[in-house]
Amino acid sequence: MKTTGRVNGIISNIVIVKADGAVGQNEICYVHTGDTKMMAEVIKVVGDAAYVQVFDSTRGLKIGDRVEFEGHMLEATLAPGLLSRNYDGLQNDLEKMDGLFIARGSMTEPVDFGAQWEFEPLAKAGDKVSAASWLGQVKEQWLTHKIMVPFTMTDTYTVKSVAQAGTYKITDTIAVVTDAEGRDHDITMVQKWPVKQAVRCYAEKPRPARVMETGVRAIDTFNPMAEGGTGFIPGPFGAGKTVLQHAISKQADADVIIMVACGERANEVVEIFKEFPELVDPRTGHKLMERTIIICNTSNMPVAAREASVYTGMTIGEYYRAMGLKVLVMADSTSRWAQALREMSNRLEELPGQDAFPMDLSAIISNFYSRAGLVKLNNGETGSVTFLGTVSPAGGNLKEPVTESTKKAARCFYALSQGRADSKRYPAIDPLESYSKYLEYPEIAEYLDDHIGKGWVEKVYAGKTIVQRGKEANDQINILGDDGVPVEYHERFWKSELIDFVILQQDAFDDIDANCPIERQQMMYETVLNICRKEFSFADFEECSQFFKGLINLFRQMNYAQWQSEKFNDYRKQIEQYVLAKTE
């Protein structure tokens, strides 16, 4: 018997329900009004009163309206056919919805239950299996989608039978497993998992030891992201957070990309809807959309579902990770998620923490970030979820609760600076403020030695020092005037400008410059670094600035040229001669 209840209070999207039976924290219920039913989640229980947040507008709801409790938490449906879909925060397929407007209470199936999949068994009768063990596989787009023992089955089981290779629907039984007490369990290709809980069906979670390429020089060269790592991008509005995230989503070296548009602009999501089905992933030759899942809860969609959207995205990420795949989950923006938490906490009249955010904000954020990571699966394979979130700090001030809490949880920090954005130095990643903790990992250093070049990390630090010294020199020049400082100060400054213009700045709207493969990054960076290590002797600061301006111009043309093309090599030669003429 399901617990039912009646509406007894309404404050915006918080509804107080008088329940006639047991109610669980975070349990899902449906609130009926007229002919529509709206999904809601229990967030507090006081006596027989359940406080539920409705994932929809409560307009017209009345005291006494019926509520049905479902007996389970908010769940994601996990099955073949998730890729390329566009979901709302509660995993309703937006594409399947009728009408221009999203009608209240609209619910659509997250996957196609009628679709046929070409199943291939991997396990055989007698195998010992546990949650997330691979039983078989199907081809989803071009990825191998493993069919696993559902994550909720926590015991160990013996496989009784596995279906033969052939075509099946996701609801068909593809395996039967027997538990220790001899009970049989039918397994299908579809399973459900409560989104707010981490999937922990793996052997261990080692430290990340590989770098995830993004094609963005300011990240890959200066502050690399690890596969299975975490990072965040805080920045004031207009600093280019979204452009940067889109660039990463297009270029990242990942098998599956999950983009959570959380409380952001609808037109930005439309851009993905329009571009991704057309753009080709250079690594695989397939369309970007084929490896992408979009969870879209734009800023005007119900606030409570916004909170759910990041969890839905992460859960789907963990599902693909358990198949041994590289998953990148991105959320834009986690501040909107935190604000959803704030709105709820406010309506529940909880005592507020800093800036009226809930007291446990920091714990919620770090708990969420900790779900990312590289994992060793029970069968020895590895899979990873890399998480990258943006933060929209109020007033661009990085000393606000969401930024500070995230800084404690994430290992990479890509601070976007207003100053750089104002002078159109994009991506506006501040080279001095930003950091990647992964540069300090010996495993990562070793990986970079092997994959880019021996002593790469030292080179990165050398570049950072040049930028730092350049900034100091510039401060001096600004205080004392061009003539008030030795010419070497100008040289120091211009060397940092060279790194800035050639390596850090990148044109996200240019077809060639937008995506810089690591091989090209290495070549460019080493060329620039070698020039920076040379001692020039300029007669005066005018000569110095003229020289570097000319040099920067040549390098920029080179950045716009096709890798290793005739034009590219031509600029390269020009640069060599240009520098040689000055050093001889």
Partner: protein, 439 residues
Amino acid sequence: MTTRAFQKIYTKIDNITKATVTLRASGVGNDELATVGGKLAQVVKIMGENVTLQVFAGTEGIATDSEVIFHGEPPKLKVSDNLAGRFFNAYGEPLEGGEAVEGEAREIGGPTVNPFKRIQPSELIATGIAGIDLNNTIVTGQKIPFFADPDQPYNAVMANVALRAKADKIILGGMGLTNDDFLYFKSVFENAGALDRIVSFVNTTENPPVERLLVPDMALTAAEYFAVDKGEKVLVLLTDMTLYADALAIVSNRMDQIPSKDSMPGSLYSDLAKIYEKAVQLPNGGSITIIAVTTLSGGDITHAIPDNTGYITEGQLFLRNDSDTGKVIVDPFRSLSRLKQLVIGKKTREDHPQVMNACVRLYADAANAKTKLENGFDLSDYDERTLKFAHDYSEKLLAIDVNIDITAMLDTAWTLFAEYFSREEVAIKEELIKKYWKA
């Protein structure tokens, strides 16, 4: 509102605050309208039998025995083609008399357009102002505010933009508009012979502030009628959103909500987003473009209102008084149109993106040179040239009184480049230099 048969009338109010009343009632729906002592009110909270209503015009004069009549429905607007050319108050009632508009009654603040059904905006809106068209091109379906100090001529600029934009309908949502400004809009539209394209919902400073909360939803419900049902290009002007947010703060304060930054309600972001996200490019060719005004205090954009707005809108336009030329310009540094990438160099000439960036970069160099000058340092030859360029750029392109088309703007920029700089200093892709450099 006339009473209908069998409508229950309540005459016992338990609590009265400045903006809300609470009484015991049953069968009341959330968000429903009611009349309290002859004033319009809306249900904002229901706890068991206790219903709290927000009285738009304030509770002055309401007594514990005032009549409360529930309407059984949320606020609605009657939509039809007859809205065009009319001026309404915040409740959608005609101003200056005139007959009420008949038509289908639609709930205001209705549901969201499914993001998947949206079309990517790609149609440029030409305004003739280079600070907008050249540097921060606006497209249909965009939402963008002017960030301006109260003394700047934002309403005049907005009226100009609206008239030049070639929209099928212009919908003015005035919140806390001074009567003078209201009359200004009216006369500008009248003089341009555009009155039949205009629909206005106006709450002036003479009206109670809480009424303002209805204005954007009214304006956008009308906009959705013309855009969705009629496939028209609709431009919505919202001025001034800061006063709207202030009204939100008043209500949340009266309801004992815990304020967040700058005494604003914690839900400010969502509240503003619900309005701005109504901007849309529809598959039927219709569109809603929102141009709003957010007044700043002393140019402070870190205040919660402009800050939240900036995260919602697709860019912002800053007005600035340029002391060099004595003109009001659209600030090239702080202004931004996020959707310009969809049209520049595609719907406009190929050199547009690079010319735009080069101009701004050189203008930034001029700003540095100016700082040097102010600090008493000598200027290099390059510095001198950037200053001259900045003056001309400001006067011939950035000033809001310039009215030329985009190709002419690009040509002007190339003329200025050639006048003051060498090709290397301009640093534009070589192919473009070859094609457009004015020797």
